[in-house]
Symmetry: C2
Subunit: 436 residues, 2 copies
């Protein structure tokens, strides 16, 4: 049987999982690739680490040149995180004639056009299924399986850490900080979870999906985004009372006026598929003009789910499918004009959930609805509970659900409300998912 030599750069969580699949399941990968996938090298920083001791003699090396200078190594899984040295290593791999598989969404979101351009010049290819939604094969599904469609919308829960935190806060009434501490203990959150919880990671993934599905070229940093780090358990509770769950939703929706793109904690109707995504799961609801709605649900991260995606890419690359797709689709082509323009965030229509605290005195509700009315934001429902009857406070929470209004108008109305004398503290404003 033919043999394709493979290397891994970076034996961390994902790299170790990939090595495990290649070493322990050679029969399986050979059957699916029509050739033996042979793990020739794994490049690490410190080869003396005890966790590498199990790997076959001669595989682990600290010298990237052992990969670069071995012309028999055709496919390399580049599995180190961050931008540098990941970027430089990736360029070196391409320049030495390797096809590269990666799980690094930050790198693609930041340097996609450069890396893909260089790969194209060199006649090499890049595969990146694991970069978005881990075990859910959304990249192949959009680029290949749904290619007969104009994708109309794509709504996803793309950050497992955020979803885990929100699920726990919702279930146990925990504060955000307590949920983070618990998630770190359980391995569902990094020591520094900033990029996960502030919406950065989801925005980077959304930028990649929006490029593949719509031909948009958004800079991830320009995607309007809010994270779950500002969520209060009270909002989860009110949402529940209203028949909703709150999820960190990444949305790309095509309209006649352009592409809507944002990441934010969003009220999603309870009982609908996205609302019921629990714990560290990811999910993506895609709508295509021919296929209609397709829904994907699976583990968006973790060692083996992510390794599953990386090894599928290694197989596709060894078989030659990746090369064909790469040459055909011209992904991340910096010379190409975007096929769609982005709608200004302030113009996007949306429904909103507003929560604020008001003095329990006559006329207050009228004042607030007056502000909303002046900004043409109309009210769908209101929850105002009675004040605590122990007389300790005359400040009561007020929750308002609006009908559809432009983001900009809703934002201005919320600011104005926040400045009213009868309003105490900040106005919380969250988007409400429209449609099914």
């Amino acid at each position: 049987m033919e043999k394709t030599k493979v290397a891994i750069v970076g034996l961390g969580t994902v790299g170790t999982g990939v090595a495990k699949l290649l070493l322990d399941h050679g029969d399986r990968t050979a059957r699916h690739a029509g050739r033996t996938l042979w793990l020739q090298r794994a490049v690490v920083r410190d080869a003396s680490k005890p966790e590498y001791a199990d790997l076959p003699e001669g595989v682990v090396t600290e010298d990237l040149d052992d990969v670069l200078n071995d012309p028999e190594i055709k496919v390399v899984a580049q599995l180190i995180g961050g931008l540098e040295p990941a970027r430089t290593i990736m360029l070196k791999l391409l320049e030495s004639g390797k096809d590269v598989v990666t799980a690094n969404k930050a790198l693609l979101a930041e340097h996609g056009p450069e890396l893909f351009g260089r790969a194209r010049e060199l006649g090499q290819c890049i595969a990146f299924e694991a970069a978005v939604a881990g075990g859910i094969p959304i990249i192949t599904n959009i680029s290949q399986c749904l290619s007969a469609n104009q994708i109309l919308s794509l709504e996803g829960i793309l950050n497992g850490t955020s979803n885990f935190l929100v699920t726990q806060m919702d279930r146990l009434g925990m504060s955000f900080d307590d949920a983070v501490a618990q998630a770190q203990e359980l391995g569902y959150a990094e020591a520094d979870p900033t990029m996960d919880v502030d919406g950065t990671d989801a925005a980077q993934k959304l930028a990649i999906l929006a490029h593949l599905a719509f031909g948009a070229h958004p800079r991830w940093a320009d995607i309007p985004r809010l994270g779950v780090d500002q969520l209060d358990p009270a909002d989860l509770q009110y949402a529940r009372e209203l028949g909703y769950r709150i999820k960190l939703l990444a949305v790309a929706r095509l309209g006649s006026e352009g592409l809507e793109l944002h990441v934010s904690p969003t009220l999603v109707k309870a009982g609908t598929p996205l609302a019921e995504v629990q714990d560290a799961f990811n999910a993506i609801a895609v709508r295509g003009d021919a296929v209609g709605p397709v829904f994907y649900h699976g583990l968006g991260a973790g060692q083996m789910p992510t390794a599953s995606a990386v090894v599928a890419d290694i197989i596709d690359t060894a078989v030659g499918r990746t090369r064909l797709t790469f040459q055909t689709l011209k992904q991340f082509n910096g010379d190409e004009q975007p096929r769609v323009s982005l709608r200004p965030f302030s113009e996007l229509p949306g429904r909103y959930y507003l929560r604020l605290h008001v003095n329990d005195s006559p006329g207050v509700l009228g004042e607030i609805t007056g502000v909303l009315g002046r900004h043409q934001v109309s009210i769908a429902s209101v929850i105002q509970h009675e004040p605590a009857n122990d007389g300790t406070s005359d400040v009561v929470p007020l929750v308002i659900m609006t009908h559809s209004a432009p983001e900009g108008a809703a934002g201005r109305a919320a600011n104005e409300i926040e400045n009213l004398d009868c309003v105490v503290g900040k106005v919380i404003r969250l988007r409400v998912k429209v449609g099914e």
Copy 2:
């Protein structure tokens, strides 16, 4: 731009949808295929039908030779149903050097090894995404996206007609016959829905999936199957009372003793994803040893969802990916030994729902539990309502949920119970889904 000439054989529901996508969205398919996909011919039986009048001049023909003898036509979508002449036409297409795309699961389930063997001999390839679950790209997902995994189980709602019927019976308390009549009116059931409602169609799809996912070679006709045609609205009602929904579930599950394979109306815990699949939707829950659980949900039939899958296959075939996959995976290779044996149905463990009518007299429950006990089928719960208090009948319904027991033992117990003097009429026995 390069041009690949394409033909369609059979302009029925699906064929018309495929023609529509190719003709109306040439820009889209060209972008995804890296070449123009040019609809050169569409072969029909009666070219004078008014519905073909919209097609461009010269496309419609009654003569298959117009396709066979045109060496520039490389890819043909063969979209006529049934076994003959579909089989003969497919062989002719392959023999004249065409790659073939098909949606015909009956043909594959019956003649897969012959057709695939011939294609391999001739150096051609066959694509069949649309043959299972319509718009859900389950074939590519199993054969390619999840190829790093040993699939452990696969549970699907694969027949949209059955699911539509069951959903309507459940929602409206309709009888099976009334639901069929309504489904026919709405276009969700064929004039003769037998193959859909008796489990044949789901078994044919399951046979294909079991082959791809497990390397099994089941004959579809050997797969134990029950359809929804025997379902009584009363069972849907009791299932609901017990916290379940009834779905026509196709199951393939790998265990140390072989592969479990069957199609049957099954009680599925309410609130779990498969239980909540409504109307004509399909869904498939896959479990892989690396990726964990992945869930797919979408439209399993209908003109455009199915055409979406066919056109994706045409694109894959034109690009060359299908050929690589086909050569690598050696699907439906009759010379190859199955990689897994099928577990005898009678040995399969399962939980069961039993419904029967008994005389409302003392000792009856004891007699029935005695029979179950002798067959080592233990009881998890019982529902016995009071008899109608108008004294019109002393026969009462009894519903029993069992713990896990082998299919054979449960069947023998049910038969013996049916023969008890205190039991009136038949014993209904349905499987209950185990696990999440």
